[in-house]
């Protein structure tokens, strides 16, 4: 069994995550040309929303986090539950 100090997040993982995010966003903003407001019609379509059906997404994420160890990433908020 691995022994780990549960009070400390592995620094290397945090650095790795921050590096990946920085690289992705640098790449993304580097690739992004200027899109004028009147060119954003496609982006404003409902199916282009990150959560087109927010209620369904909230229920599914709550279900997954009740059956799996992972949570987070998509946002914060909501209370815990005694889900088994």
């Amino acid at each position: 069994m691995k022994v780990r100090n549960e009070n400390l997040m592995p620094d290397r993982k945090i650095v790795r995550l921050a590096t990946i995010i920085s690289l992705v966003l640098s790449f993304a903003s580097g690739c992004a040309g200027s899109v004028a407001p009147w060119e954003r019609g496609n982006l404003a379509k409902p199916q282009m929303a990150l959560e087109p059906n927010a209620l369904d997404a909230a229920i599914m994420k709550h279900t997954y986090s009740s059956k799996e160890a992972a949570s987070g990433g998509y946002g914060i908020g909501g209370g815990g539950c005694g889900c088994n």
Binding site: M1, R4, Q47, L55, A58, I59, A70, G73, G80
Partner: protein, 417 residues
């Protein structure tokens, strides 16, 4: 969008620009992503059902949104879950197990299930206030979730900042939750349970890549401290004092679990999640949208996981829309997890909770929706999820006894006033 002539209707242009600038999806919280309307009501009824006559949940959820003016809006979210069925307690050696270890058997082990049929409700209410400034939106959310053995009080603060000519949106947020959990139904003896506190933070960026695609990157961090064990779960520990058995759902002689030890986890947990989302419009395919999500997760209990999700939203004729989706998940086991414990551990932690095991899961589903009268939209969907130890790519301990599947059936409607 086609080029707009200078003399085009300014009102239409303004409306379209405002709609575009209220970029969908720049909000990190799933709760906060309903389309802004003066008044709207979203209602959802879902039925969740696990294989092997395990848990079943009927979910009733409603969200009412009201805008006071163009800056201030309120949203009330209400959830009622009705839970029935039985849940796994932990695996044990077949033949040597107590009365209730009559679940699935494999490899000389058998699954112990909760003895009494669970029948309980969870009720959640939370209120959100959102205030728009020139280049920012502030959200405050507070609520309470309660069950007969769990109470959670929480609040969240979120902000979104529009930068770079509104090509980029920065999201920051903080959340706090104070929870209390206890073992229900204990007739005598000590009651397991306790309090826990959770602090959460989010830093996110959404970037418009071009007129057809955008990318979001979120980093979330969570710290939990206090009682983080599950008061209903036990680990099989045959060396544990058989003359002083722990009890399960009351201490009558028929329900005592000799040779088991309570689920015992560390008193703190740090969790990090990194989410990357890509959304692309396909104008040539009737404005279909591709959604690709990847999430990496790690915590100080030794768990790493990867989640992949892909969905395709296809508008078809006359307001109909069909959305197939697939999902893959894999995690390794927690450092202190084991299927059973043949000897005491050095750190005193014990857990055979199937959610802390190493496993993988494949899921998928389809949603069909229909927009009617411009003010009503109805949606129906079905999802299927198969968890299997053999699907995992992350390694770690686990047992096929914990394999299960669930189906989710849902129907919802959205009304705009």
């Amino acid at each position: 969008m086609a080029v707009i002539k200078e003399n085009a209707n300014q009102r239409a242009l303004t409306s379209l620009t405002l709609a575009a600038l209220a970029l969908p999806g720049v909000i990190a919280s799933a709760h906060a992503e309903l389309a802004p309307q003066e008044y709207s009501l979203d209602a959802n009824v879902s039925h969740y059902e696990e294989s092997g006559r395990r848990m079943a949940v009927d979910i009733y959820q409603g969200v009412a949104t009201a805008s006071v003016n163009d800056k201030l809006s309120f949203k009330l979210n209400a959830v009622n879950d009705v839970v029935t069925g039985a849940s796994p307690v932990g695996p044990a050696v077949a033949g040597l197990s107590p009365l209730r270890c009559k679940g699935p058997s494999s490899g000389g082990l058998t699954q112990c299930m909760s003895g009494a049929t669970i029948h309980e409700q969870r009720t959640e209410l939370d209120l959100n206030a959102s205030y728009k400034l020139d280049a920012a939106t502030l959200d405050v959310d507070a609520g309470r979730s309660s069950e007969n053995d769990y109470i959670s009080n929480f609040f969240n603060l979120n902000s979104r900042w529009e930068l770079n000519n509104k090509m980029t949106t920065l999201t920051t947020g903080y959340g706090y939750a104070s929870d209390k959990v206890w073992e229900n139904g204990v007739k005598s003896g000590p009651v397991a349970g306790g309090n826990k506190e959770t602090h959460q933070g989010i830093l996110g960026l959404t970037q418009i890549l071009d007129k057809d695609s955008l990318l979001q990157a979120n980093l979330t961090y969570s710290y939990s401290g206090g009682y983080l064990s599950d008061p209903y779960k036990y680990a099989y520990a045959p060396w544990h004092d058989p003359y002083n058995p722990f009890c399960f759902l009351g201490c009558s002689s028929s329900t005592a679990y000799a040779g088991f030890i309570r689920d015992t986890r560390p008193g703190s947990r740090n969790q990090v999640g990194m989410l990357l989302r890509y959304v692309r419009n396909f104008s040539e395919l009737n404005a279909a949208a591709l959604h690709v999500d990847y999430r990496y997760y790690a915590d100080t209990w030794g768990i790493d996981s990867h989640t992949f999700e892909v969905s395709w939203i296809q508008p078809v004729l006359a307001g109909w829309q069909i959305t197939p989706r697939v999902r893959y998940y894999t995690q390794n086991s927690a450092d202190f997890y084991n299927v059973m414990f043949t000897a005491p551990t050095a750190n005193g932690y014990y857990s055979s909770d199937y959610r802390l095991a190493g496993f993988g899961a494949i899921g998928g589903g389809v949603q069909i929706s229909k927009a009617i009268f411009d003010w009503l939209k109805v949606t129906a969907g079905v999802d299927y999820y198969q968890r299997d130890k053999g699907y995992g790519l992350s390694g770690g301990n686990g047992t096929a006894l914990d394999n299960f599947s669930f189906s989710m059936y849902s129907a919802s409607l959205n009304v705009k006033f």
